[in-house]
């Protein structure tokens, strides 16, 4: 046996705080590396020119005015759900029920549009849509919140299960309201009268949604960072014992915050159904309630940064769709590229928090 022991090749140690530009440089380098690797993988697997692939990714988002509008609409919707779940996340309450809360808000909106059409003036229908969708979303989030506050149930599982109930409810009402009978879908609601359709600003179909979400984003930022409620949310999230110690009623804060979270999700459902889709399907949310988790985490629960992270995710998704059609590649290939990029971005956080010390070989003889 050789008794000689060797210094390990490298060891990991914690870094001190980095300057903001240093950490952004690391993130930028990670993105660059990810793009290079994606290019290599593309050439290796498909034989396509990576530059052409990147070009079509870009075109997928900005190739035409219509595509750009769709891009921004998608960002707005994703951002809206992300904003909704962020207060709960800041409280370390993992609301994974964004999808369900959105769906139930959409269902409430649909109900107003179908049942009130012709009975009330258009503005009154819209008011009903807003109120009922917000309430529906809030109730959907309040149920798990109350159980958590009273009996400390696990909100992650509870909100997930609420998603299934919402999906089944929507499926049921789609059959109730199906047009035409036997179609198994609702189709465009009030296509002739446009009753309950949110107004469009000029000829820009998506602009109203985008403006509403932009206002919401700023409001949420201010609420979380400067209001007393926002402060209570942070304290409860960091330590429930500290919160109790200073007399914060933890149960109340949990329920209140989840109500807010669900209400905004419900509003997102309303914007989707009343603003752009004008129909209801069980998959109308496109899993945004879950993508929003990533948006929120990547932005470290900061509403303003979430604009960039939701942009990044939507941009990648749109680009992925584009290369699938342009190069005849399967959509799964696009998912691989998205996966690589996210892996690098999330992985870069490790290098921001830790540094790797390599063995000193120079000037020391073994």
């Amino acid at each position: 046996m050789n008794n000689k022991t060797h210094t390990p090749l490298f060891h990991v140690s914690k870094r001190g705080a980095l300057k903001w530009y240093q950490s952004w440089a690391i993130r930028g380098a990670a993105l660059l590396l990810a793009l290079v690797l994606c290019g290599l993988v593309t050439t290796w697997v498909t034989g396509e020119d990576p530059i052409a692939v990147y070009k079509s990714i870009w075109k997928g988002s900005f190739g035409s005015a219509r595509r750009a509008w769709v891009l921004f609409q998608n960002i707005a919707m994703l951002l809206c759900v992300s904003l909704a779940i962020t207060p709960a996340f800041r409280m370390r309450c993992w609301n994974l029920g964004g999808d369900g809360q959105m769906l139930i808000g959409g269902l409430a909106t649909t109900a107003c549009m179908i049942l009130l059409a012709g009975k009330l003036p258009n503005w009154a229908i819209i008011v009903c849509m807003v109120v009922s969708s917000v309430l529906a979303g809030a109730v959907w989030a309040a149920i798990p919140a109350i159980f958590k506050a009273k009996w400390n149930t696990n909100e992650t599982l509870f909100t997930l299960m609420m998603n299934y109930i919402a999906t089944q409810l929507v499926a049921y009402y789609i059959i109730v309201w199906e047009v035409p009978k036997g179609a198994g879908k609702i189709g465009i609601i009030n296509q002739a009268t446009e009753a309950g359709w949110l107004p469009t600003i000029g000829s820009y179909k998506y602009l109203l949604n985008i403006i509403i979400v932009a206002i919401l984003c700023v409001a949420m930022y201010v609420y979380l960072n400067y209001s007393k409620h926002g402060y209570e949310i942070s304290v409860v999230g960091e330590s429930e014992r500290t919160a109790r110690y200073v007399g914060i009623k933890v149960e109340k804060v949990i329920v209140r915050t989840m109500l807010l979270s669900g209400a905004v999700c419900g509003l997102a459902g309303m914007l989707l159904v009343g603003g752009t889709e004008h129909t209801l399907t069980t998959t109308i949310t496109s899993g945004r309630g879950f993508t929003a988790v990533m948006v929120s985490w990547l932005a470290k629960f900061n509403p303003i940064w979430m604009i960039f992270t939701s942009f990044l995710l939507v941009f990648l998704e749109r680009g992925a769709g584009q290369i699938a059609t342009n190069f005849g590649l399967s959509a799964s290939f696009a998912d691989i590229l998205t996966g690589i990029i996210l892996f690098f971005i999330i992985g870069s956080e490790f290098f921001i928090n830790y540094q790797i010390n390599f063995r000193h070989t120079a000037g020391k003889e073994e």
Partner: protein
């Protein structure tokens, strides 16, 4: 000393945590048959240095040699293979397993508990431990758990033992027992390192002391050749006085009256049993007791954080009017106009929010003020700046998360905030636990200032020497009952120690 070969030689050991230099080219020799006391203030790098020896951290630079042979310690397993065992401040035992099961846990080979129990008994007989191998950990007192930890490393063949503040959780009697065992091990030729803050323990136990300051090795010397004053000066870097003031209370009046207080924990265990006492304004009431004797529950009951089964806690105003505190949460107590401050034991888990910065932590007490829905950020920021300035808090700024501060500075921030609200009652739990001499004296001074300002101070402490010097009266708890209340002036450490372990103290011996 010079003709012995060192069991451990550490040369030029350097360790950085980000920009912080925790150890700066430290040289240290550890000899067999000797007890070495490693001294230093908080953040001077004692624990970091020992963690590198026991394989928890890896040094950035420097060499370690065991018995003259250069080694590389990459993991705790490497350290065990070299015969190095460390007993940490926080025990690492599985509660539902027995002592023997814990001791053999993770060892290779066939599980033979009988043989293990025999070997454990042999170790105990050799050094004078008392351990029942078949006792479950959850049935054990803190000192028994510590014994299991020590036996665990001995069982694994360690002959270089490192103990990180082993006496912090022990009564005086238990400490004496531990010291006797350590001396036995030394006489058996083992190398022992003990990390501590308590000077009198260093003098009583160690053969040699080594002193670190700001990560640097300052010097080592034979204990018999030095004294507490010199060691303290070397640790701090300048001369300090080691006396605690105890001014006479000025115009004491009853402020908090506790009657028949009975508290059960959530799982139904009786934590406080019919406790009655009065705390006066302008006076420090010390609370002594073995850890877990109801001190925490007592303070939390007064602060409105602990559900109470029976009894009453009255707050008495200067004019004699009384208010009942039981059944009110901290917010309700505050709204009654009672200014009650509480420095809890768990500073970062309860008193402060570790991830928030100094000024946000100052806000915890005051954020509700005003009718605006937005928080006032200027006042807390100013308060943070004031506290940093007045209490000499070492921090890069008021926007630094408090978790980045060292223990002493964290405590200064917490105490600073709690006394900023001009309290009439100040509850403190283990206010100087883990703090170095300088910080401890700052805290004693702050507490004395509050006393002089007419505050009723309730001080739960673990260092009896300090309690005896600081408190005007001492309430001794034993198993949740009041074992006695003695005046602080003239109280005897041995008597108070006996009262801690036995109701009413030692009346039979």
């Amino acid at each position: 000393m010079d003709n012995k070969t060192a069991a451990v030689t550490m040369r030029n050991i350097t360790k950085r945590f980000g920009p912080v230099l925790a150890n700066d080219k430290v040289w240290l020799d550890i000899y067999r048959g000797e007890i070495l006391a490693l001294l230093g203030e908080n953040g001077s790098g004692k624990t970091t240095l020992m963690n590198m020896l026991s394989g928890i951290y890896f040094p950035d630079e420097g060499e370690i040699a065991i018995d003259g042979r250069e080694v590389v310690i990459r993991s705790p397993k490497d350290a065990f293979d070299l015969g190095i065992g460390m007993i940490h401040q926080h025990f690492k035992l599985v509660d539902v397993l027995t002592a023997a099961e814990n001791i053999v846990l993770g060892l290779p080979g066939k599980l033979d508990l009988k043989a293990a129990a025999k070997k454990i008994r042999d170790i105990c007989d050799a050094y004078g431990f008392e351990v029942d191998p078949d006792q479950k950990i959850y049935d054990m007192s803190v000192s028994q758990k510590q014994t299991v930890e020590i036996v665990k490393v001995l069982y694994r063949g360690a002959d270089i033992l490192i103990l990180d503040e082993p006496t912090a959780v022990l009564t005086p009697q238990e400490t004496d027992k531990l010291f006797a065992v350590l001396r036995n091990m030394r006489d058996d030729g083992k190398a022992i390192v003990i990390i501590t803050h308590k000077m009198h323990e260093v003098e009583a136990l160690s053969d040699r002391v080594a002193i670190l300051r700001h990560g640097q090795f300052i010097g080592d010397m034979l204990t018999s050749m030095t004294n507490a004053q010199e060691m303290t000066n070397m640790m701090v870097g300048h001369a300090v006085t080691l006396n605690i003031d105890r001014p006479e209370p000025v115009d004491p009046k009853p402020r908090i009256e506790v009657k028949g207080l009975t508290v059960r924990s959530l799982d139904g265990i009786l934590k406080l049993d019919d406790v009655s006492f009065t705390a006066n304004s302008g006076e420090i009431l010390g609370i002594a007791g073995i850890s877990g004797c109801g001190q925490k529950e007592l303070l939390e009951a007064i602060a409105g954080l602990q559900p109470v089964e029976n009894g009453s806690i009255s707050y008495i105003e200067d004019d004699g009017s009384r208010e009942e505190l039981i059944g009110k949460d901290p917010l309700a107590i505050q709204q009654m106009g009672v200014s009650l401050s509480f420095v809890p034991e768990d500073r970062l888990g309860m008193g402060l929010v570790a991830n928030m910065d100094l000024s946000d932590n100052m806000m915890l007490r005051s954020f509700r003020r005003g009718h605006s829905m937005f928080t006032d950020r200027k006042t807390p920021r100013q308060l943070a700046l004031d506290v940093v300035e007045e209490l000499d808090v070492v921090t890069p700024g008021v926007s630094t998360p408090v978790r980045r501060l060292s223990g002493g500075n964290v405590q200064k921030v917490l105490v600073g905030r709690e006394i900023a609200s001009a309290p009439t009652v100040l509850l403190t739990a283990y206010a100087v636990r883990g703090l170095d001499i300088n910080s401890s004296y700052t805290i004693y001074e702050l507490i004395n200032k509050q006393k002089a300002a007419g505050v009723a101070v309730i001080y739960v402490g673990e260092d009896l020497d300090v309690l005896l010097e600081l408190a005007d009266r001492i309430l001794v708890l034993c198993g949740g009952k009041v074992s006695g209340i003695v005046p602080g002036r003239g109280a005897n450490k041995r008597d108070v120690g006996m009262m801690m372990t036995k109701l009413g103290g030692n009346s039979h011996e």
